[in-house]
Symmetry: C2
Subunit: 151 residues, 2 copies
DNA sequence: TCATAAAATGAAAACGATTTTCATTTGCAA
DNA sequence: TTGCAAATGAAAATCGTTTTCATTTTATGA
């Protein structure tokens, strides 16, 4: 479990320690991301944040996400449609299952892939820079919603 | 190992069996993709194909890739930069390590992830629609080229 | 071989997520 | 306070990809 209230404060400190300034907008965006298990799309985050920051521009959302990712506070998820979602990175890089409907995320572990990756690097000479293990599907709620829509 | 010459012919049959017509352009694109272990970006494929089809349009490359993917003859790879590459799918869906420099691909297996996926689906109620396991890095040749560039 | 309808093609325009530019505002250290 | 770097929003630009549309090809079968 994650200490959500403390987490936002940590992130703000982290931003400040890195030479970034604290603004009303950043506080709101950080609060939203740090307190949610969902992966937000930029527009979703924009809409949520505008309830508290009416004049907010979408650009600022992108710029803030960029900084949070740079600081490894959020993890960018790539989706089959090519768009992105952003998820709080409470344990660094995570392997996830994402709901294509609502962006809800299940973080999982139990895959023991490191040995495989090392063996691959050894045998092929590749230098591995990053890896993705992501599942895509529908959460129970979105499955139900889909059944509704069909009927 | 893959019977490359026969593979292109198989793909052309597959296209024809699906109601698509055979054109000079398709033969060339199929030949390029079926005979390579590389994952091509659309522009790379376009450039390679234009050597034999000078008037070729980039749209046609996209349209052909779309059909080949639909028939599971190629697999679309997503890259960190958001762009795509297309790899011949000789064994259906594959787990791969891609060189970010040249698109060379190492297909690998030996990860036994199915049980994990089933357990996740059971425990969370998610319906899993697809999954990605992809590594990104540099092949030995591109590592060497990078060292050259630095020096 | 020829006629035909469906499919394929390329040029140009449209799309849409993301990024850049630029003039203005804001945070914060001195 | 002051001064300056950083942050912001509006508008324009990017760029990979898709759509539109008029024209050309392909497969079929009379
Ligand atoms: Mn990992
Ligand atoms: Mn797989
Ligand atoms: Zn959902
Ligand atoms: Zn390479």
């Amino acid at each position: 479990m994650v200490d959500t209230p403390g987490l936002a404060a940590e992130w703000l400190n982290c931003l400040q320690d890195s030479g970034y300034k604290l603004t009303r907008t950043r506080r709101v965006l950080v609060e939203l991301l740090a307190s949610s298990t969902r992966a937000y799309g930029p527009i979703e985050l924009y809409d949520a944040a505008r309830e508290r920051c009416p004049g907010l521009g979408l650009v600022t959302v992108y710029r803030t996400l960029e900084k949070l990712e740079e600081l490894s506070l959020v993890q960018r998820l790539h989706q089959p449609d090519g768009c992105h979602r952003y998820l709080r990175a409470t344990q660094g890089h995570q392997h996830v299952m994402v709901c294509s409907g609502c962006g809800e995320v299940e973080v999982f572990s139990g895959d023991n892939l490191e040995p495989l990756f090392h063996r691959l690097a050894d045998q092929t000479g590749y230098s591995i820079e990053q890896h993705w293990l992501q599942l895509f599907g529908l959460c129970p709620a979105c499955q139900a919603a889909e059944r509704q829509a069909e009927a």
